[in-house]
């Protein structure tokens, strides 16, 4: 009888040990403080033209003019979370032309929200770059979140007969963006 009592006592102590587990104080409200702000990068627009096409537009002519739908930033999910960012432009011109290129940011009604203009000298020895910052201290982020389309114009500011001595002369406009989003 005494042995059985001892064994039951052992069992009781064991079970009590299992039940009497402890835990440090936890604060699950901390989840509200979680900040997830990834930097997203993407190519935006690329324009490339050979010299013959520019010449074909004539003296001081527009060799490219197009309005393209661009809803990347004004999608609700993106627009609500866009914090800041930079659009990076690169221009390369190996033609014999002096060129003027403009990119206009248009809202849904076609109103111009912002303009980025480039004057490109002929036979540029190096790639021209420009970074445009949107957000605190820079241009308004609202420009991007309300942009619905881009109007791109490429104009020849030179004659329409000269030909570059370089092989395969071209003008290239490339652009890409890096933006900070708040996912949480």
């Amino acid at each position: 009888m005494k042995g059985l009592f001892c064994r039951l006592l052992v069992a009781l102590i064991f079970f009590s040990f299992l039940l009497n587990s402890c835990s440090e104080k936890q604060d699950f409200d901390q989840f509200e403080d979680l900040s997830i702000t990834p930097t997203l990068a993407s190519g935006i627009f690329y324009l490339e033209s050979d010299e013959a096409t520019i010449n074909a537009a004539g003296d001081v002519g527009v060799f490219y003019a197009q309005t393209v739908n661009f809803d990347a930033f004004n999608e609700e999910f993106v627009a609500e979370r866009l914090l800041e960012g930079t659009i990076h432009y690169e221009l390369e011109n190996t033609t014999s032309k002096r060129l003027g290129i403009t990119i206009e940011f248009l809202d849904e009604d076609g109103n111009v929200l912002d303009v980025e203009s480039f004057t490109v000298e002929p036979n540029m020895p190096e790639v021209f770059t420009r970074d445009v910052f949107y957000g605190p201290g820079g241009k308004s982020i609202d420009i991007l979140t309300t942009t619905s389309s881009l109007r791109i114009r490429g104009g020849n500011l030179s004659d329409s007969t000269s030909v570059s001595s370089t092989s395969d002369p071209k003008v290239k406009l490339s652009s890409g963006a890096e933006f900070l989003f708040r996912l949480k």
Binding site: L34, T39, K172, F179
Partner: protein, 486 residues
Amino acid sequence: MRKGIRLIFVVWLGMHALCAQNKQLLYDFNEIPQALMLNPGVKTSEKWHVGIPLLSGLSFQAGTSGVTVNDLFADDGIDFTTKVRERVLDAMTRKDDFSTTSQVEGFYVGFRGRNRPDDYYSFGMYGETDIIVYWPKDLALLAFEGNGGANIGRSFDLGDLSLRGEMVNVFHFGVNRKISNDLTVGARAKLYSSVFQFQSIHNAGSFRTSPGQNNVYVSSMVADMELQTAGVKGFYDILDEDTSTTTKDLTSLFTKRVLLGGNLGLGFDAGFSYNLNPQTTITASILDVGFIYNSKDIQNYTLRGNASTEGITVFLPEDINDVNNDLWQELVDDIEESLPYEENSSGYISLRPVKVYGSIRYDFGEENGRSLENCGCGVNMERGGGMSGIYRNSVGGQLFLMKRPRGIQPALTGFYQKRLGRTLSLKTTYTVDKYSWTNIGLGLNLQAGPVNFYVLGDNLLSYRNVADSHYASLQFGFNIISWNDN
């Protein structure tokens, strides 16, 4: 909404802080009838046993090979985002997992053959839920850091996404046979009745953003991804309808699925115990070699293909006549065409997670004849007509292997078992696996007359701070046992 997300996150951490189906305390704990479920060839000594319905075998296991709840939610004044970065994103690898396993025995009965007393038959039904989610490291980094900044040029592995889960009801029938005084073998047939199953285990692909050939950046994605689900949509549809009969409908569907009304499968267990000498025994078993054919209530999701984009591109003079101003939408359409997200309802076979146990045990401290006379020992305890082979102590080692989506998951256990007369038996284990190197467990089996009660607790050191535990498990149950000479 925020509360919902927070709840999901906490539940996710809590639930998925579960792991491994290793039941090292129960394995080869011959005094407990449920040991027969881990090795059909275990030595049995009962005349019959009946588990108390729904209470004969309950087991819940919890663990995580990576971050613990305490790591993140301890009230330590450290910024939460910093903790997530340092303790989750920087510390966890794609090999880390969260998983949950729970088992509830519906009923479990065993009896010795009247004409063949060397045979012990057992049958029953239990429900099992098993979910494993590997840490999708690259996808988490992509969400947290993005593809820009320092990650330009980095390839994110889409194959990091790997998960599998199921809830299944198992009907089983097993035969345990004493072949000789030294050898006992057993096998168990299983009929699986699936409640739900989902898996996404063969994903491959990558996402990369790098300096483009033409434009500033090019983003490329190659994907061969699939999520297969069976039985999930039915529950989702009921919840989505959210009518006054939702609870009733859920119960009805659950009951139907549990009772063979859903997807079915077959499987088996096998095992043996062999005495190398009167005091040394080796055992081994293989469990859940089986499959479920999922053909009902199927909903699969695929993302297969490859796409690359540098943004909107215009080449002159080739595109001079393209006056379409929907170039952005064209770009999106092209990507969706190259990388289609599709749904289908094709049936599929899901394999059960196979488990293997092995052990070697050395018994010592033989009981004297007096206690053996009333020990209630069964046929397997008798040797050559005499009573011998009951030892007060056992020591040994166990090996556990389990097939997981990313390979075999091993665990190594050393154990010591102490029998205190007929009524009480204790077993303690030390286990090393990917979840813990300090896992000390303690099991207790109490036989009070015909009533059997057992409780097995794992990783007891972690009970000092459960929230900081990488692993915890608890099993307990009640049985009624009749011994051979009772």
